[in-house]
């Protein structure tokens, strides 16, 4: 059955190609090419982030459009133009035909997404002046507050506010790091305020690595880090980093975190690293939490991550294609398209459904309906990777697997129902 299914998938591909469906991804790539020079943002890295997010969104949208249109159109044509009379008596079970049409649509959506992602990567590299590096992050295992007297205090709630006399700080402990690895960076961010109620743009801090023998190794700011630099006309002895106000939503690893270089030898032989941040200016307050300091590990250049992002985002078109095939097995093309596009929009708007339910001012029946939607529909927005790409965060195979596992139950149910419907279809 596999050979026959692959033959049907190849047929879908050829049908779409000769139907000039390649114009869709080409249009998407052209749109990015047109956008690339004109995108502007408040900070220099903003345009790059916008382009990365826009190309990811374009790839995802193109994939969804193709997943809704292609399989529905192809299967309804098979059935309504009676091609099925030629094809279905062959020794390929109808489930093989259905899976072939589905696989063909997913392959098309994936290829279109990869094409647009490649165009997006080119645009990003052009605006960034080179191919950006992506990073994976490792969170700390332990987080403590350190008083001005050097006493370590546990922070059970995971966040603390440094205020009052200077010299207090926080300490993060990392484990499981590779002592032989090169290129590790330490990323730090925090919320900054004024102790006196005025406006403060940044707070000077000192960030050091503590060796197991008690040695203190001051870390230096990466010259390429736009965040954390000393402001003009400011000086603070001992400061190696100036934290500007950033909340957790500002997540660009390249632009929203101070990037400090971790010299060799700061990671112990057993893979441990202890980092201490000390507030230096009593006029400032710094709010720090467990996740305000991470170790960034180089994860390669952006295009590979953009490609993996497409594979992760392909989970959404896969579900939509399965839904389109199910409806196309029992209804006409317009009905199948309507169903597929409705699922696409609803699946991307579950957060809005959740918010509506949270407000609690919907009627009982509507609330019940929205509750059923939340339980029954796949959360297609969860497969999006645009934010990660824009934040220079690595998109690993775990993200790909997580996205597909998230939609797997819906995929299995939709394909099984499609098989049942197609096998009952009278020709």
């Amino acid at each position: 059955m596999i050979a026959g299914t692959l033959a049907v998938a190849a047929l879908s591909w050829r049908e779409a190609w000769r139907g000039r469906l390649w114009l869709v991804p080409v249009a998407g790539a052209l749109l990015i090419a047109v956008l690339a020079p004109s995108v502007s943002a408040a900070d220099p890295g903003g345009a790059v982030r916008l382009l990365a997010a826009a190309s990811s969104a374009a790839a995802g949208f193109c994939g969804i459009l193709m997943a809704a249109l292609v399989p529905a159109a192809q299967l309804t044509r098979d059935l309504e133009s009676r091609i099925a009379l030629t094809a279905f008596p062959k020794p390929l079970p109808r489930v093989g035909w259905l899976l072939g049409r589905w696989a063909g649509a997913v392959l098309l959506a994936g290829a279109a997404g990869l094409f647009i992602a490649a165009a997006g990567s080119l645009a990003v590299a052009w605006r960034a002046g080179g191919v950006p590096e992506m990073r994976t992050t490792k969170a700390s295992g332990e987080f403590e507050r350190v008083t001005g007297l050097g006493e370590a205090v546990a922070v059970p709630q995971g966040a603390t506010r440094l205020a009052g006399p200077a010299g207090d700080g926080v300490r993060w402990s990392f484990s499981g790091l590779d002592p032989a690895a090169r290129g590790y960076e330490l990323l730090v961010q925090g919320r900054v305020g004024s102790a006196g109620g005025g406006i403060v743009e940044s707070a000077p801090v000192r960030v050091v690595a503590l060796g197991s023998d008690g040695a203190v190794v001051p870390l230096s700011l990466d010259p390429a880090s736009p965040y954390g630099r000393q402001p003009p006309d400011s000086a603070m002895p001992g400061a190696n980093c100036w934290l500007a106000d950033r909340n957790a939503d500002r997540r660009s690893l390249a632009a929203d975190w101070a990037r400090l270089v971790l010299p060799e030898g700061t990671i112990t032989a057993d893979g441990r690293l202890v980092i201490q941040l000390t507030r230096l200016d009593p006029a400032t307050t710094v709010q720090i939490q467990t996740g305000s300091c991470v170790v960034a590990v180089p994860a390669g250049s952006q295009p590979m991550h953009a490609a993996r992002a497409v594979l992760a985002e392909l989970a959404a078109p896969a579900v939509i294609a399965a839904a389109a095939l199910l409806v196309a097995s029992i209804a006409t093309l317009p009905v199948a398209l309507l169903a597929a596009l409705t699922l696409a929009f609803a699946g991307h708007a579950l957060w809005a459904v959740q918010e509506t339910l949270t407000w609690g001012d919907s009627g009982r029946a509507l609330s019940r309906l929205l509750g059923l939607m939340l339980q029954g529909l796949p959360d297609l927005a969860a497969t999006g990777q645009g934010i990660r790409l824009a934040a220079s965060e690595a998109v690993g195979w775990s993200q790909v697997g997580h996205a597909w596992l998230g939609v797997a139950p819906h995929l299995v149910v939709l394909l099984a129902l499609g098989w049942w419907a197609l096998s009952r279809r009278q020709l």
């Binding site: 049907v8 050829r14 139907g19 030629t86 008596p89 020794p91 390929l92 079970p93």
Partner: protein, 284 residues
Amino acid sequence: MSDEVVRTTGLAKVYADFWGRPRVSALEGLDLTIAKGEVFGLLGPNGSGKTTTIKLLLGLIRPSRGDAFVLGRDPGDLAVRARVGYLPEETYLWKFLTADETMTFIGRLFGLPAAEIAKRSDRLLNQVGLGHARGRRLGEYSKGMARRLGLAQALINDPELVILDEPTSGLDPVGSAEVKDLIIALKQSGKTVLLSSHLLADVEDVCDRIAILHRGRLAEQGRVHDLLADDQRLMVELQSPDAATIAAVKAAAGASLIGVAPPRERLEQRFRRIVAKNNGDGAR
């Protein structure tokens, strides 16, 4: 029993609507047997149940009552489908594919190796007269060319049972004659052919046995020779008779004589002869 390629007993089909309510009874109590190596004709007016019978034998639809066996097994069995070739009433194929690509795709559905597909495709496309047009897309094909390709795809798996629904539909007389020659060749190579056609002359020319359906019921079944035999009349053929011989025959026949006339050539034979002659002239 092992010689039975097709057997139906009490086969019936009632088409239902979306909700499962009976809508129309297309076939009622069909008992049919087709032996190995036979060319069997299925005749009947429109709506008589011919296509429904074929769909049941192909496993495309399930019977409402009764049983159908093809090559000794359920028609929906994939192993059975691998041994059956089918040409639908109209040629439903993919217009964006070339003839070569169509044959390759169909061959892959049968799980044939690529080399075998190429070999069979080459032979069959030449056999149906499409060797010169194999690289053209089907959208550019005439109805007759598409029909020939439909026939070729039905034979890609070297089937034991070939089901042909109106195989000469859309073909010119030469094409029709070639299809009939092909059916006879299939019979000679031991294949079983189930032929459904409105063109009674075609059926008469090639079929060993026929069944006539009317309003979903079997109206008549038997050998063509037996069904068409007329015991009440006798035909005498003479080669270049002179007037005396004719007079003697008339005298011998007496009052039972119906008529004396030279034999007439069938229009199809004459057409084929003229086309063949002109093709020969053109070649010279």
